[in-house]
């Protein structure tokens, strides 16, 4: 029992590692902000393209979405970070992470938005167009607010997935939370910093997971 505590919950090591982890957490937050905002915006654009009446646009959007949903995000990241330099494109770890995760996230968010938009009855658009609103106005004021409401739990759980995903950035030595924790682990030969990092992830993500569960239960009852 004592070895177990010494291995995973060594408070001395944790408090030593804490400042480093805190810095890592700040980087994780920065990364999340960029990746989530880009993913949401890109996902929305892709969803609209995938629903467009223009056949070429629609099929290229669907192909993009399926392609990047099929590739594991870590594979994308390694490809962007280690593969692109061969083509003369050398990216900082941060940029590589942002680009690789954008390709992945925007596809996932696109699927969510597409489902949400599809669930808004066609009559809503018709009613809006019949009162003289343009296509863009009907979308902005009538369809999208309802679409987002339809899929809010899915958007939230996708966002949780994105935050979890940022931990992969440690593989390309971006000094985010997990990288810092693993660094501390290798210096101290002790797994406690990793457990501390796990605790920090939980602190932020557990409440979100609870909210999503509540929401889904509410929908099931209705």
């Amino acid at each position: 029992m004592d070895t177990f505590i010494q291995t995973f919950f060594n408070l001395d090591i944790m408090s030593q590692a804490f400042p480093l982890l805190l810095k890592g957490a700040v980087m994780t937050l920065k990364l999340c902000a960029v990746v989530i905002v880009c993913g949401l915006a890109g996902g929305l654009m892709l969803a609209l393209a995938a629903l467009s009446p223009n056949r070429a646009l629609r099929w290229s959007a669907i192909a993009y979405i399926d392609l990047f949903r099929a590739l594991p995000p870590l594979v994308l990241l390694v490809f962007v970070y280690s593969g692109l330099p061969f083509a003369g494109v050398r990216l900082s770890p941060f940029m590589a992470v942002v680009i690789a995760f954008f390709l992945n996230n925007s596809s996932y968010f696109a699927e969510v938005f597409r489902a949400g938009i599809n669930a808004v009855p066609k009559g809503q658009t018709e009613a809006a167009r019949a009162t003289g609103l343009s296509q863009a106005q009907a979308l902005t004021y009538v369809v999208l607010p309802q679409a987002v409401r339809n899929v809010l739990p899915d958007l939230l759980s996708n966002t949780v997935e994105v935050v979890k995903l940022t931990s992969l950035a440690s593989v390309v030595s971006l000094s985010e939370l997990l990288y810092s924790a693993n660094m501390a682990r290798s210096v101290t030969y002790n797994a406690s910093p990793l457990v501390l990092a796990a605790g920090m992830y939980l602190l932020v993500l557990w409440p979100l997971v609870r909210v999503i569960a509540r929401y889904q239960r509410g929908l099931a009852v209705n």
Binding site: T3, R69, F79, A87, V171, L178, R185, Y201, A220
Partner: protein, 222 residues
Amino acid sequence: MRFIETFFNTKVMADYMPDLIHAMGVTLGLAVATIITGILCGAALACLRVAGLKLVNFCIIVFADIMRALPPLVLILILFFGMPSLGLNISGWMVVYIVLSLVLTAFSEEIFWGGLTAIPAGQWEAGRATGLSKAQTLFYIAFPQAARRGIPPLVNRVLATTKLTALGSVIGVKEILSVSSSAQSFSGSATPLTMAAIAYLIIFIPAVIASHKIERRYHFAT
């Protein structure tokens, strides 16, 4: 032309093809083992929750929340680097298998449980009224309906989890990504990474397309 030399070098492809095919086997084996374990354990936990034992249910909920909130890579590193200190030497393959199975167990438990709570009370009453025990009603009436309802989200989650097998590369499991990464550094060519991407697409594109079909087919149930 240089682009093709870099990313689609046929000589490099031929050199590493056998290794990569072997690695695909490892990835697939890991994926199948994870899927079977995760879904069976998730179904078992969801059924256990029906019994209504307060303490047991509380533990299941906490377990499912934590597994859904934590980045899998954090868990992988904790197990991989922590276990040896406890005198338990487990292979990288085993670590990835355990962690991904736990993650899939948590998600599938929540999906099955969500399905079970959505079964109308009348179904239970009908089962009990025709002389079935509570357990029989669960196995023959409630759970099959819950499982059917859960198929679309479960398929998506299974895909997401099996793609995480690429995380094995971080702790030296000889799956597709790690084999191609090391091939890339040995050969000094980006071609092995292209091969990895293609290998993943061969496995996952059919799965993604199948998931679209399944989603449409079971749409009424969600």
